[in-house]
Symmetry: C2
Subunit: 369 residues, 2 copies
């Protein structure tokens, strides 16, 4: 790890002050914004996330807002997932692809109303794609990045904390549903969602709520004391164990959703008008020739995976690993790879060329959690 | 400064190995890629850049490649600068705006041929805007991010080094011209350009040249020993002194080119077909109501400028500072601000609210170098 230089281009968030006070030790940059990566240590954060409750500054999950008469039509153009039955108040995970079927982002879409959507994006300037398409097709919508900063509450004790602060109705939200709940005179949008497998919520702090951003952070920390709350962040170990993909790490514009194991979110026949449909039709029928797989890497702790590591069968390259780390709970190195179909069956023995030399590796059938 | 976590999403470059061997001490993230920010110290790097020659890994200046029958037409749509007289072999600085006239990027365009262009981008996924527009308008072009990694040679002794390694013809290149020159059996595209005011060149290392990337780095370091060459990087002090703007720092989508002092690159009447023309017509005639200005900040060293600092006239906010640092050569804090027309005249005394308290500030007529 090296130091990251301060600049306005790498944006702070409404919660940065809280993150700093909590002793953040590392960052990454995500959508031109600071995203914490470690507080105590990646392993301590991990054990704590799996047993208690954490507060995450995920303001970097920026929103692309789409408003206007063509909003729903545009949303369906953007993703091969069929949105026709989607009601307001729901979140949908929507792969977004270009005209070749290549992944541009894998966000969560929130339907605020028939003519208003938010797309809560992964790390690419999806706004520019949407604006370009809208310009070219002269659609009747407004597209913008409003100043909305999600704050996540994640971990098994999230429900107890949300109930304490926002009441039973908030804690009763079903998965991927959202509604508004009052806090200090503001109606905050809260969804049951988040980038972990430990359960939790995301609170969308809008521009008009900015004066309650730090009060909210502090109120949650205070109310969470009895649940052993800490500041935290998306945890690399937990996300790999849970098979949560990361755009830019595990997939890029080079990959189709099917290669990423996201074929179940592609309704290529019924998502009428979606961009990339022609390109995806054949792969939807025949399936991809390479796909994301959980990979177990033998030996002690692997180095940080800061580049693609080739997966080899003898002298043949049959795939690559894009994320990897030691899992204390499973006593092995857990990893996410993409493997050619000739070698993707569970139990297949491969070799991975890490940046510090080769290791034995095995394709697994399922992620760990 | 905090530590930056390793991940494939923050891409390494073909020169990362050389950068690490040279003892890089800090990075930023630019176009999802590592960009070094300091080697010895920002001040030592600065003195050295102004007196010798440096090798910069600017692979993060990614290229958007446009190829095909509609390439030149598309390029003219993308920028309000008139490209009709531009010949192949030339570089043009081209503000790129959206339909509202808001800056999306401020890249350098290279015209490789009538139907082939590179856009050497600042920090935003311009590729997505271009792809979106092309999709919507069904233009007959291919748009992609080829794997091209610029390596910059910057500093007053750049000419001597380039002449030694590539010959007199390369050193005779005029400003913003490029041509190809042989190196170890590869024809490398070299331009006289770069993100400093100290003179120099940028060598575009393409995918097919990747095996000579580190040999090139090493050859330049070796040949440059007699010119006191060092590994370096864009230097914050030098760029502010020279008035080199940084997209995401000094300007964003909220700003028109005219606000950024880039009106001279906007040929709003003759750049037929450019996106944003309608929005910019009035501002082109009347001028902007706020504009980029050099700002001198009194007192000793200012803290790192990692957020906008308000510029105040009494109790009225009249602008903001977006980049600031201590200049050893000028014995003052140099800064880039944007100021309302009521207060932008040279000599105007203002107050800047830095993150560590207020300071006296003064609007200057010109940048320092």
């Amino acid at each position: 790890m090296a130091l990251i230089a301060p600049s306005r281009r790498i944006r702070r968030t409404p919660f940065s002050e809280g993150v700093e006070a909590a002793g953040v030790k590392g960052y990454t940059v995500y959508n031109h914004m600071l995203l914490p990566t470690v507080f105590a240590s990646v392993e301590e954060d991990y054990h704590h996330l799996k047993s208690a409750v954490q507060l995450w500054d995920v303001a970097c999950e920026r929103q692309v807002e789409i408003r206007g008469p063509d909003a729903s039509r545009l949303m369906q153009m953007l993703t091969p997932r069929n949105l026709s039955g989607m009601e307001a108040g729901r979140c949908f995970y929507v792969p977004i692809v270009d005209e070749t079927g290549g992944m541009l982002n894998d966000p969560v879409a929130l339907k605020l109303g028939e003519d208003r959507w938010w797309i809560s994006i992964a790390d690419s300037d999806l706004l520019l794609w949407v604006k370009g398409v809208v310009y070219g097709l002269r659609l009747d919508v407004l597209v913008d990045e409003p100043d909305v900063s999600p704050l996540a509450v994640q971990g098994p004790r999230s429900d107890a904390l949300i109930e304490k602060v926002f009441g039973t109705e908030a804690a009763a939200l079903r998965f991927f549903r959202f509604a508004r709940f009052p806090f200090m005179g503001h109606d905050l949008l809260i969804a049951r969602s988040g980038y972990s497998k430990q359960g939790g919520f995301e609170i969308y702090v809008e521009a008009g709520d900015r004066d309650v951003a730090m009060p909210l952070w502090n109120a949650l920390l205070e109310a969470g004391a009895e649940f052993d709350i800490r500041a935290g962040c998306p945890n690399l170990i937990e996300r790999i164990e849970g098979g949560l993909l990361s755009y830019g790490n595990d997939m890029t514009r080079e990959n189709t959703p099917h290669e990423c194991g996201l074929g179940r979110f592609c309704d290529t026949h019924s998502a009428i008008g979606c961009i990339g449909r022609d390109a995806l039709l054949r792969v939807a029928i025949e399936g991809p020739i390479r796909q994301i797989r959980p990979i177990e890497i033998a030996g002690d702790r692997v180095p940080g995976c800061d580049r693609l590591w080739p997966l080899m069968a003898g002298e043949t390259r049959v795939g690559r690993v894009s994320s990897a780390i030691w899992s204390p709970d499973h006593g092995t190195n857990v990893a996410i790879g993409m493997v050619r179909m000739t070698h993707w069956d569970p139990g297949t023995q491969l070799r991975v060329e890490t940046s510090e030399g080769p290791r034995d590796a095995m394709v697994r059938g399922k992620f760990w959690n």
